[in-house]
Every structure is written in C-alpha cells, then in structure tokens.
Symmetry: D2
Subunit: 366 residues, 4 copies
C-alpha cells in the first residue's frame, strides 16, 4: 500500500502510525526526499488487508491512498473472481444481462397497482417496484401506506407473478419488510446510514442500493462494502442522479459513474432515469442512455394517471411509454454485449382477482 501524506512528518508525528504498522505486521518506508509518501508492505509477503488500510487512512497525517491494489476491498473487481449475479424473481442482474424494474412511486391503490404490475410485466419488466414506506423531506408530506402498502404489493405479486422490491427506512422495520418483499431498497437518503445497511444486509434479502444525492463513487462503494462486510453478497448498485446547480432535470444522471463502475466492481449497476429526469418526457432518452452506457438494468416509475398521485407524479411514464422503452432495451442490450431478460418470456401472465383478505406478513428473523 502506498499513501500520500499531508506533510513531511515532523518529530514523532508518524510514531502512532508506525506503531500500528508494526503491530499489524507491516514494514514501513518513507519515499522521496520530502518523505511525503509512505509505503507499507506485509513482512511475511502476504497481501495487505482492506480493514488495515482503513485504519491507516484514518490517521490525520495520511492525505490519501496512492495504490492499494494489494489490499482490495470486497467490492473491487478482480481478475480472479467472477462478477456477482443477483437474482430476484425472474430478474437477473449481472455483467451480461439487462433487467427492468418498474412500478409506481408510492403504492396508493390496490387496483392501480395490479394494473401497473400486469402492464409492465406484459411489456417486459421482471420486477415490480412500489413504495410502502416513503422517505420525504417535509414532515407534512404523504409518507406511504406502510404495512397496508406492503400487503398491496404482496397481492400484486400473487396476481401477476412479479416479484417486488420496496424501500425500508427504519432498522426496526427490516424484519417486517423483508418478510414481504423479494428485495430491499436502500434509498438515496439512507445510503450513508450504516445502521440501516447492516440491518438490511442481515435479512439475507438482495439489497438494491441507491447512490446518495452527493455521494462520491468511492462513498457509494463503501456503502456496498458495508453490506458485503455484513455477510450479504447480493447488492445491486443504482445510480439515480446527483445534485447539480442546474434545474432542467431534477438530478444529474452520472453515466460516467455507471461506465466506471462496470469496470471497477463485480457488482451489477443499474440506473434510475425517473428520479434523475424529474420530468416524464426526459425518462425514455435517459433510460436508453443508461443502457447504452452499460447499465445492467433500469428502475422506472410507471403510472397510468400520474397527475392524480401524491408523490413524484411529474416523472412517472405511462404503461405505453414503458413498453416503448422496453423495446429500446431489447435493441440496445445486444449492442453492449448484454442479454435482455424479458418478462414476456416467463410463464404466461394471467392476472387473478386479488384476494383482499389481510396478509399476515411473517417477519424474517435475521
């Protein structure tokens, strides 16, 4: 490992760092005339350790990492290991597939939800999205239907065969949500919430992890590292736009980050064009762009009557538009060496009348 230092270490300033190196079995050398670079090599010739690296980075004296290729983190793509494949229902997220997730922003009505689920499945989606617990900025805004929303999602799965992913906000709700959902979404506002990340990871369900509003790519990967470190290998990264100074879109979709991540990590990376666009007419071009940049899939907000809903209606597209978007995905996937996982290939869709009896959601024990 090679670290750059903030300054030439004076007096005993480097001593605590050198003591730690000694305890952990590393040989330390300062490089350069100004001793501004520190090299640490394991004395026994074994590679370094990512956890050790974090402890060294934590010192005030250390400005940054110059080279840590001998102490790779769990999220790093390496020649000697396969890319991660995450399966949720019929969806497959990997480095050679494209899967589409679609559904309403918030779950508000059972009939609408089933109509949407059936519609997007027929168009090619393999996973349903829908919010039961909604993160909001204002305490006065609609926060979702909670457990009742989860029940609606369960019924929609029964009616259409489409597995679903939904957000969890509170570590105390993880058991409940994991008892119902096929995958857990960690939203943008929660990306840095290590408490929630660990709790969600321990449910064993696949984690759809959204990038924070102003998170660097490194911070995004460290959030995923937290899930992997907690023993859950099934992480799907999701780029959803970062905060910008401009307002023609709600957020700025960072497709350079998507392209970079496909080479830097073994985890699948998808994109959320809806939250990036903030306007429905910009969703299809951004969706196509994300796939052309190499995304492993999309998560898209779909609603048949967007102006009637509480939250984020401005960015929802119709089922018809989603079908066109799925057609574009079928065409673009082979251009980037990917196979489109098509919801229409699954067993025939036969929407059953939902049984409206309450659903007992069995809480998962972590």
């Amino acid at each position: 490992m090679l670290f750059s230092l903030r300054k030439t270490p004076a007096g005993s300033e480097a001593q605590p760092l050198l003591d730690l190196a000694d305890r952990l079995g590393y040989r330390a050398r300062f490089l350069g005339a100004g001793r501004r670079v520190l090299e640490l090599v394991r004395e026994d010739g074994t590679p370094g350790d990512a956890a050790d690296r974090s402890r060294f980075e934590d010192f005030a004296l250390v400005a940054g990492v110059l080279d840590a290729s001998d102490a790779p983190e769990r999220t790093e793509r390496r020649a000697d290991r396969k890319a991660t494949v995450v399966r949720v229902g019929d969806a497959v997220f990997s480095d050679d597939t494209v899967s589409l997730i679609a559904g309403p922003c918030a779950v508000e009505d059972q009939d609408d939800l089933i109509e949407i689920a059936a519609g997007v499945r027929e168009a090619g989606a393999t996973l349903l999205r829908g919010g039961a617990f909604k993160p909001r900025t204002s305490p006065h805004a609609f926060r979702g239907l909670g457990e009742a929303g989860l029940e609606m999602l369960v019924r929609a799965r029964e009616a259409t065969g489409l597995a679903f992913v939904t957000e969890v906000l509170d570590p105390r709700d993880v058991e409940l949500v994991a008892g119902a959902a096929d995958a857990l979404q960690i939203g943008s506002r929660s990306m840095s919430n290590q408490v929630l990340l660990r709790e969600a990871a321990s449910s064993g369900k696949p984690i759809l992890l959204k990038r924070g509003l102003a998170a660097t790519v490194r911070e995004f990967l460290l959030a995923a590292e937290t899930v992997l470190d907690a023993g859950n290998p099934n992480v799907i990264l999701c780029e959803r736009g970062v905060r910008s100074f401009d307002s023609v879109t709600r957020n700025l979709l960072d497709l350079g980050a998507v392209a970079h991540l496909t080479t830097a990590t073994h985890l699948p990376v998808i994109a959320d064009p809806s939250h990036a666009a903030g306007k429905s007419h910009l969703v299809p071009p951004l969706a196509r762009a994300a796939l052309a940049a190499g995304a492993a899939g999309l998560i898209v907000e779909v609603h048949p009557a967007p102006h009637t809903v509480h939250s984020d209606g401005a960015q929802a597209i119709s089922i018809e538009t989603f079908a066109e978007l799925a057609a574009a995905a079928r065409a673009i996937a082979p251009l980037v060496g990917r196979r489109f996982i098509d919801g229409t290939d699954s067993r025939p869709l036969r929407v059953t009348e939902p049984d409206l009896a309450p659903r007992a959601i069995e809480r998962t024990a972590p």
Copy 2:
C-alpha cells in the same frame, strides 16, 4: 398561497388538486393568461396551513411555491413570536448570545477527555462535545466506543461540570443516549433520516441538527420542522459546510446560509468550522467568520495530541488555540449585537478525580 405550475393545466389534470382544495376549504383561482399560477385562499378568511401547503406542493402539476406567507411553517420567523432560546447546561443558544461547544471528535480515552473538557471550560466553552457512536463511511473504520464512550462523557461532566452533546445514529439507541447526554446531535449524514429525527425529538432533549452535506437550506429547515412537528421545540441548527468541487477545504462553509437563517427562522444557528475546514490552521479564521456572520455559537474539535487519534485529527485544534478562538469570540460577539456566554463565569472549575466505576445510564422513556 400562490403556486407556480409546470404547465397550463390541460383537461382534467388540475381536477385532483381542485378537489383537495375544496375538501380542505380553499377557494382556487388560476391567474394569468396561461393559467400558470394558482392562488388558494381559505374560504373562511383564516390563514392557510403548512401541512395543507405540503399536500398541494406534492402534486405533479405544481412546480413550486411563489408565496406561502399565509401558511407559515413552524420554523419560520414571524413578527408575532419570540426567537427560540435553547439552554443546555450553562450554554444558551438564542438570537442574542454566543455559546461555544468544544471537545474531541471521538471519545477515545478517559484522561484525555477530562483534560480537554477542563481545558475548554477554562477557555470559555459552556458545552462539551464528543462522539461515542461515530458515523463512518468505511465499514472498516473506527466506529466509536459506544456505551463505554457515553460513560466517559458522563464522568467528564461529573469532573468538570460541563454538560455534553453527543451524536445518536440508531433510533434504537435514542433512549440510551438521551439517558446520558444533555443534548442529542443529529449528524450531517442523518439530517434526512426522518425516522431518527422523530425518535430523537420524542426524547425531549434539545436537538443539535447538522445540515446535510448537500442539503438545500429549505431541506435543512424541513428537517428541523420534523423535530418541531414531533413536539420538541428545542432545535439548534448547525451549518457545517457543504460538498464542493474544490479541495482546499474539506467542505465549503456556507455563511450566506447562516446569515439568511438568522432572519428566516426563530431557531438559533451555529457553525462547525472544524468539519468545514478539515485542516486545523483554517479553523480559527472560519470560526471568527461564522461569528461575524451572526452565528449563535460554534462547535469545535479540540485535542491536545491530534496526530495520535483515530478520526478527524487533521482538523482538531489545541486547547491553546481554542483559548485564542474564545478570546476572538468575546471580541466579535458585541460587534454583532450578541452577548458571549462565558464558561469561565460559571462556578469555579475544580476537576475532581473521576470515579471509574461503571455508570448505569438510565434509558429515558420517550
């Protein structure tokens, strides 16, 4: 209330919004030739309601609020109400005082902590800071001593008479932390965590709320609104720098936001020059600048041997430098119409030998 619309409403697009207005007792009028502005006035002549406002803002059709002065939110400064005064130990946070909070980033050692607490109190601080539960980006980084750290803070309070504020990260820890601390800090990463905000609010302890890394001022105020809405009026806002494209400082301290907030809200606003600077030599100038901009106080990281500690050592200042900073605060406060609340005015400091027996922290029932 006056709202701008995303477009001229076509067909029945505005109907759900008009229906809601009707149900809530508002008369609606479209203004302008293009019907791009919507006016809502209570039919009975009473003022609007901030919660109603949020529900209208939530519609896809609504682009933004043009004027909501008749439906003020709880955080808004109004002619008819006094500014909020938050007292924690000897510290007073208000619109005509300056109080200093100081202490180590993380609590790591009992003796160091008491030395720092005694030192900053003698220099003029009225509140101790110190992290027992540390939010970190890497899962491999030091996460604080937890309950043992809380005990150290309790002992430091016993030894020096200085009340303390410490961060809480997990809603399940609120009872524990509130049982020990005099005020709860909600960190930058947690500002948008409404679950934690509500739980912390319900403890009844004053809340020190840090601005999120890329939160707009409006989002910051809505986080405070969440605490007020949960029945806890004692919120201290804290500007700590926002993410920027430049790296000479760790974050960009937004003193325009501090100046704006002192006129826009009745809540006290302090600043954290340490996390903004990221480098100890930039802390004193930013601290002075924050006070000159009208901040109601500062929260500063102080450590006698910064290069030995785990986290954020690069930005900690010495006790001597803190004493100079407190002297500057004494001089600047009167220039901006504020009174310096001086830790040296309290009962004489007599540091007692800490009793190292375990402290039973009584969990507060919310």
Copy 3:
C-alpha cells in the same frame, strides 16, 4: 409575460419598471393578494419581445420569469419553424442526423494529423477536429502551434477531403482562423465571452459552441442567443460535461441537458464524451450513451499514440476504438429516429502526399 417578484413592491419601488412597461407598450397588472406576480401584455395584442423581457428581468424587483411563451428567444423551438440544419463539409447537424467529429486534441505533427484524419474518415467521421490555439489553465503549459497548426489542418483537409473545426480564443484571431477553418469552436472557457461570441458570429462560419464548465442550460442557450442575435444562424451546441464533486470522470456529462435541449431548442446538440470522461476507456460508453439520449453527433479525441502528446492524452482513443464507436453510432442512430451521416459514403478517400509549402491563409473580412 409573467414574472415573479422578490417581494410585494412597496411605495414607488415598482415605478421604474412600470414606466418602462409603459414606454414599450405593455399593460402591467399585479396578480395575487401579495402582488408578488407581475403580468405584462402588449397593449396592441402583439406578442412580447425577448429583448424587452431581458430588460424587465434586469430589475432588482424581478425574481424570475414564470411564463414567457409569448416572448420567445431566438433559440427556442417553436411549432412554426423548422429545426436548424448546420452543414460543415460532409457533416450534417440537424434533428434527424448523426455526424461524427474526430481528431487529436492539439495539432502537434503533420504526419500524425494526416494519419488520424485519414483513419477517422475511413471509420465514418465527416469532420476533423484539432487545436491550433489551445486554452490552458497554466501559463507554463503548451498553448498550441497557432498559425502553424492551422496550416497543418489545411494540409490535412487537402490530403483527406475532411473539413475541419478548430477553436478560436482571441477576437483578434477570428479573421485568421475563419480564413482557414470550416467551422469555429468556442470552447468551454469562452462560452460566457460575449466579445468573442459576437466576433466569431460575424465571421459567418458555423459555430460549435461548448457549454461552460458550470453553465446552466439557460446560460448555455443565452450564449447561443448571442450568436443568433449577431446574425449567424449556424450554431451547434455541444455538451461536454460539467464540474462535479466526484473525480472518477473529469467532468460529469449532462445527458439530461442533451435530452432537454433536443425538445427546447431548434439548434442541433452534440456531445463531447472525451472531455467528460477524461479516461479513454470511458469514452466509448459515454459516446454510445450520448447518442442514445438523442445527441445529433459526437466530437471525439483520437490519437494513435496518446502517451506521447502534450495535452489530454489520457482521454484520447485509438483509431481502432473510434471505428468501433462509429459502428455503434450506425446501430444506435436508427433507434432514436436519426440517420447516420457516414464519412465512408463520400467520395473515395485517397490520401495525397501533403504539399508542405506554407499556406497563405486568407483572413475573412467580417
């Protein structure tokens, strides 16, 4: 026109604005209880004027424009006018074509330049790029070969039949550069340089206008408006990435802005994946993404031996990679309703030996 005001106008604060409205023939009305919205309508029923709009926006009292659809600016897409088609050599930039521009960052060597020009033309490019006058941040950095570089570009055009676009930095160089080049590039650093924009516009040559590093989309369009206002209708907009807090890419390519612009303006919009990526392996995915988002073309840095060159070598791709990228462009163009303008369709390429005699560049009289 509908303007939002910063506050309810007190006393005679609105008088200068009302006087101007009167002089220009507009009837003014304040809307809403708080008089926070101002409506201006031409008394004679004719539409408003974009220049008038700017004069009203300029008042301190005016916070922003709510609706100016009756006073469209020259860059705005309107139902009653065709999209602009800009032709440079064999390249066509319009709303239903895709054209590729390629070449070295800076022109440094005649043989290299001709090799690149021939290579990219054979791969499908229809326009050559290459810097003779280079904008640099450091005064010590290589600033291009100047007039000698222009001569090399002229010879490359003679040898390959490929027209070229090159940057102009100094208004005093416009005649010289316009005397040699087929189109003038206004670089990112110069987007707000109205002096240069007007001078370049007056040359009559098509203008390739790059978005400023932190320019809003509105500011970008106003820079184009400056060129149109100076009587030159041939503007190609170019998104090249904006400044971000993250460093995995050099800039953050704003494809939401590209998608928005294709509906908001009649001018063609292309993208520069090279300056956005900053790393050669990220150029092809960003190039594909830009086309999938609806860009009318790309401008790409190509060099056979990138590590030998002075500037921006890290982001240059090889001729082979460019050929693959052109193949992707051929495949993506029809998916977004565009026709690929193929350099290989032109008259056969027969690279002639360059005549190295000095080229007398005839300065264009504006």
Copy 4:
C-alpha cells in the same frame, strides 16, 4: 518534484516523459513496488522550475503533483520573500491592511456616481468601483455605457479624489480602459481568458482578479500566475462566491478559500460580498465574515436607489449601510492583525462640480 502516475507505466509509455526529463536536466526515479510515483530531481542540485513542472504535469501518464515544493510557482508564498503590497490611489492591499472598494454595479448617471463616490469616501472607502463595460449573460441585457461610462468615472475621480477600478472585457479595449482607470478588473467570467489576462497584465496597471464561478483555488492561482508571468506583479485576488446547488444566496462565498489563500500566496486576497449574497440584507454579515476570515479588503456594490438601476440592484446597499459596514471593518481589522486604511484619513473631501466637457482618454501603450 514528486508526481503520482495514473498507472504502472507499461512498455515504453514513460519514455517521452523520461526523454523530456533528460533534456531538461532532471534525474528520474520510479518509487514504490507498483512504480506509481515518479521522482524528478535536478542533476546539478538546483531547484526545479515551475514551467518544467507544468510540462511534466501535461503528460497523460501523470495523475497529479504530490510535492513540488522545490519548483514553486510565482504566486506561492515563500519564507524568503515579502508579501506583495498593491497600492491603488489611497488604497493599500497587503497582508496587514484592510481597504474598502465601493460603488455602483454599472455606471449609469454622472450625478448618482459622484454622490455615491463622495458618500463612500466619507464613510471610509479608498477606491471607487463602477462598470462601464458590463459582462452579461443575455445578449439583450444592458451592457454598460462603455467609453461614456469611463468618462463619468474620470469625472467622479476628479470630483472626489477617489481612484477607480473598472472591468475590461475585450483585449482590444485594454489600452482605452487602462488609459482611464487606476486598476483593471478581470471579472469572474474572464478568469480563464488567458488572452485577456496577458493583455491586461501588459498595461502595467494593477489587476483585480475575480475567481471564476466554478474555478478551483488552484485554477484561480494559475490565472494570477499568468499575470505575474507576463511581468505584472500587482495582482489582487478576489473571492466572489462559487456556484452552488442552493439558491438562498446568489453564489456561495468561499471563505475557507480566503483563509487558505492568505497562507498559500503572497498576493493580497479580498472578497466581494455583494455578488455572493445577491440580496442586500445579506451583504453586511458576509462582509464582516470575510474580514474576520482575514480578507485584505472588500469590494461592495452601493447605490442610493437600487430599484431604479439596470443590473444587480437587488444586492446593492445604501450609503448609510455602507457606513455601518465600514465601522464594522474598523473594529474587525485589529482583531485579525490588520490596519484599516481609512478613506476619511485622506485629504479633506471637497466635491467639485464636475466639468462635463468630454474627457480625452489617452490610450496606454503596453
């Protein structure tokens, strides 16, 4: 000099760099197991050269500079040289003084201008500001009175004894503006305009250089380096706020950059609270904050009737408010070890009736 490399150099990738090092007399060594750090030391033991450094940084292989303390740039503060003192009229900009610059945004009226000049001088300002050539975003906006505005500034100087600084936008106007003004302002939009920087530098007049809207501190210093490199040592740096995602202020005043620059460069650094605030009531707190952070002065927009003027009226403060601000400057200066240069200490102000005959401005020959 120590450089970090983008990757372990493969094959002959480093050869061009090593060849250059050889030609320039440097001995090169790769450090670390991965050869990711390059050390260059002059063979004859002399220090490196900043121009050489730029040439090495320019290679694609080089990721950044780790240590260049042996090849300092011209703007760097060094132990062996005094801080730069720039004098313009009665104003002194240095590392132990505070001087105030004030005046209208744009020069629009002779009488107003003289009233403002006399007012701010009586309040303590030592330099007048006022725009004759205004950089604007819209081609339809008011662009200043040009030469007539310069004449008004000359008459205001005659009437009040106050020297003036004014912006130059076009390299072809430098002679004209330098023939009239006591110092030249390079505005934010022009910071990266090396052509204009060199031309303005060659006039020999002091240069007031504003930071670009999204310029890093390093880019800001390299713009100053360009002026120094052109032989003009008299540069005043001016922080004026950077672009942000929030809108409560027009720009985000970066006082961490001011604090950093006071230790990193020998050039004086002032602040512009007016363009940062964008709202007059936020100007005084930001002005005080800038001085408390260690700024060597302020440039402030002052107008007696802000709502009547064309541009930037919303941020102009009255002469009375400016007088209060000057009083605060007198109080804060000694707290940060600076001496207030007081316009009221100069020869008595006797406003003479302006002679309205045209002024022949003698163009300076560079």
